[in-house]
């Protein structure tokens, strides 16, 4: 028996080997008791303020709004959080739980390296051993983050199996966890995987939505019309959505990686490609998964490593089915253009992941009235992507 619901509608669940079930129960128990513990909350909030630098600002994108000539655009600046992305919120939350459970070691997966860096940072801060699994393809394209993880004292283990990207890094992290489960916690970086991860990660990321809601109310005195975020596994999106999901008038838009275009088959749009994105089970959860006819998980493609994943968090699957949120995609090219646009108009270098959300803003804002408001979650900064961008577009 679990303490919390394990499913979001028909999605979610705990599809893991028996060896891991007790660890999931222990984790759920620790999470539930921590959530109710004022002392834990105080410690978490204190770290969010004094270490992460929260609240992150809400920036009015004046020149971008003028250039697009429609809606007024506000950026939630998760790129200004310590380590450069929203990932630190969840990494610190889980690391505090690890201390609470008395475990000494964490393993993590990483795609873009942002979660790996956040995990290595949290581990260094709290004195935990940290091993990060990262696909060889991602190691090559996110090299600066590999160095950062090593400098922070983490061991980066290259993953050579399968497609050598995020999906395979998760497989390896789970294999390590199964083997060392007695003293090791799996510090999963997105709102996916088996229960309680999707619920727990949303909880730690909900700070984004809470702050953003308060800030936009302070700034303009009303809620935004539209909230936009990119969706890989979906943790930054679920974090910002959680602040507005009960406000039915606020439109929620998730942006998947359209890669070279849906029709090319080279993308990571689980919702955007009905022929291959079907409900299945991967990495412990039931959700939309890009797969072939035989149920083999499909190879994905995106210029951004953090969105290059075949499945999506189970709560997004439910939000999509109930039409509380809408999901669209941006291609590599659109994301790269958005990346440059934001650099030039606002003096902000966004992560390629976040650039997908900006790409949707560029499509949508001109069609909206000038008194309408878009809030976009700028989930991370783009320093890590400079090599990729230089290769793709030159400078």
């Amino acid at each position: 028996m679990t303490l919390l619901p394990t499913k979001f509608g028909k999605y979610g669940g705990q599809f893991v080997p028996e060896t891991l079930m007790p660890a999931l129960m222990e984790l759920e128990e620790a999470f539930v008791s921590a959530k109710a513990d004022v002392e834990f909350q105080r410690e978490f909030n204190k770290l969010m303020a004094s270490f992460v630098g929260r609240p992150t600002p809400l920036t009015y994108a004046k020149r971008l709004s003028e250039k697009l000539g429609g809606a007024q655009i506000y950026l939630k600046r998760e790129d200004l959080a310590h380590t450069g992305a929203h990932k630190i919120n969840n990494a610190l939350g889980q690391a505090l739980l690890v201390k609470r459970m008395g475990k000494k070691r964490v393993v993590a997966e990483t795609g873009a390296g942002q979660h790996g860096v956040a995990s290595a940072t949290a581990a260094a801060l709290l004195g935990l051993d940290c091993v990060v699994y990262m696909g060889l393809v991602d190691i090559a394209r996110q090299e600066p983050n590999v160095f950062r993880m090593k400098l922070l004292g983490a061991e980066v283990r290259p993953v050579d199996s399968g497609t050598k990207t995020l999906k395979d890094a998760i497989n390896e992290a789970i294999r390590d966890w199964v083997t060392n489960v007695r003293d090791t916690h799996y510090l999963l970086g997105s709102a996916l995987g088996p229960h309680p991860y999707p619920t727990m990660v949303r909880e730690f990321q909900s700070v984004i939505g809470r702050e953003a809601r308060e800030q936009i109310m302070m700034e303009v005195g009303r809620l935004p019309d539209t909230v936009i975020a990119c969706v890989g596994g979906g943790s930054n999106a679920i974090g910002v959505f959680s602040g507005f999901v009960d406000d039915e008038q606020v439109e929620l838009i998730g942006v998947e990686a359209g890669g070279s275009g849906i029709e090319s088959g080279k993308h990571a749009a689980r919702f955007g490609d009905p022929s291959r994105g079907r409900v299945g089970v991967i990495h412990g959860t039931r959700t939309y998964v890009l797969q072939d006819e035989d149920g083999q998980i499909a190879e994905t493609h995106s210029v951004s490593a953090g969105l290059d994943y075949a499945a999506v968090g189970p709560e997004h699957a439910l939000l999509r089915d109930t039409e509380r949120a809408f999901y669209t995609s941006a291609t590599d090219e659109e994301a790269l253009n958005a990346f440059q646009t934001l650099c030039h108009t606002e003096g902000i270098i966004p992560a390629l992941e976040s650039s997908h959300a900006v790409a949707e803003v560029i499509k949508r804002a001109p069609r909206m009235r000038k008194d309408e408001i878009i809030l976009v979650n700028l989930s991370g900064r783009g320093d890590k992507d400079l090599n990729t961008v230089i290769k793709e577009i030159g400078v």
């Binding site: 679990t2 394990t6 669940g13 705990q14 599809f15 893991v16 080997p17 028996e18 060896t19 891991l20 079930m21 007790p22 660890a23 199996s161 399968g162 999906k167 395979d168 497989n171 789970i174 294999r175 199964v178 083997t179 060392n180 489960v181 007695r182 079907r278 409900v279 299945g280 089970v281 991967i282 990495h283 412990g284 998964v289 797969q291 006819e293 035989d294 149920g295 083999q296 998980i297």
Partner: protein, 275 residues
């Protein structure tokens, strides 16, 4: 009496694992036939999956090759039917991850599998909590209500439950009590693969499970040599050998001959264990 129940008449039984389609489909069928006819009492027939997160490198590699060779669920079930046609009459239990079964259509999958001659199912990413969908698909296989809450088809073609060293006592009791066919006791925390020695607490673990279980108990993960099989065979009702089997046969120039030899050596060791 079901084939599985029948197989446990002479304990301890020898249960090798081999994936269909490795190194190619025809060879894998020949290999499984050879295992069956040279001492295996039950065979775990492997379905391949792109993301086998409970498996170590050897089985990952073998199933990857099977996929590259074009193995599918459909072809795997046809291969089981072919094995039955060749006179293989020991129980064959399908071992595979959940997603390909879902993609095939779960009810259709269990139906077609049983039609092909499958006796049971092992799904490593389907713990007790998530098993209902599968068991209800089994329940729809038909069969008559005979006063037992379970339809005969479910009883005869069980979803095998796994127990791990980390499973806490209350949960172990619940799983053991409800187990059908046999219990798959994972002997180590970790993925599939050989280990240097049999884990120290195994005897104690087996004794604990036995208090609650009426189904036979088979031990898997980490058993690599006939000597280790013999040691485990003295305590358990069956010994599951996966990685070592795949390695010995897959690494051989003559896989069918290697399969015969492999099955005979483990069969002999377990005969000694039975004393």
């Amino acid at each position: 009496m079901s084939r599985i129940t029948e197989a446990f008449k002479n304990k301890p039984i020898f249960m090798p694992y081999f994936p269909l389609g490795y190194p190619d489909l025809d060879t894998s069928i020949d290999v499984i036939e050879a295992l069956a006819k040279n001492g295996a009492d039950l065979i775990e027939v492997g379905l391949s999956f792109s993301d086998p997160l409970a498996d170590g490198p050897v089985i990952q590699h073998a199933t990857q090759i099977a996929l590259e060779q074009g193995i599918t669920v459909k072809k795997s079930l046809q291969a089981v039917a072919e094995l039955r046609k060749r006179g293989v009459d020991i129980p064959l239990v399908l071992m595979g991850y959940y997603n390909p079964m879902l993609a095939y259509g779960l009810e259709k999958f269990v139906h077609d599998a049983v039609e092909a001659g499958v006796d049971g199912f092992i799904v490593p990413d389907l713990p007790m909590e998530e098993a209902e969908e599968f068991t209800s698909a089994l329940g729809k296989l038909g069969g008559r209500y005979d006063g037992d809450a379970l339809s005969p088809s479910y009883r005869d073609h069980p979803l095998i439950q796994m127990l791990a060293p980390t499973t806490p006592p209350e949960r172990m009791e619940m799983i053991a009590r409800n187990a059908k066919g046999f219990i798959y006791l994972v002997s180590v925390t970790g993925v599939t693969g050989e280990r240097k020695s049999i884990s120290e607490g195994l005897g104690e673990l087996i004794a604990r499970v036995r208090e609650h279980a009426s189904a036979p108990m088979c031990v898997g993960f980490g058993i690599g040599t006939p000597e280790q099989a013999k040691e485990v065979g003295k305590m358990a009702d069956g010994v599951i050998v996966g990685t070592a089997c795949v390695k010995a046969i897959g690494g051989s120039e003559q896989p069918v001959e290697a399969a015969k030899e492999f099955a005979r050596s483990f069969r002999e060791a377990l005969r000694e264990a039975a004393g």
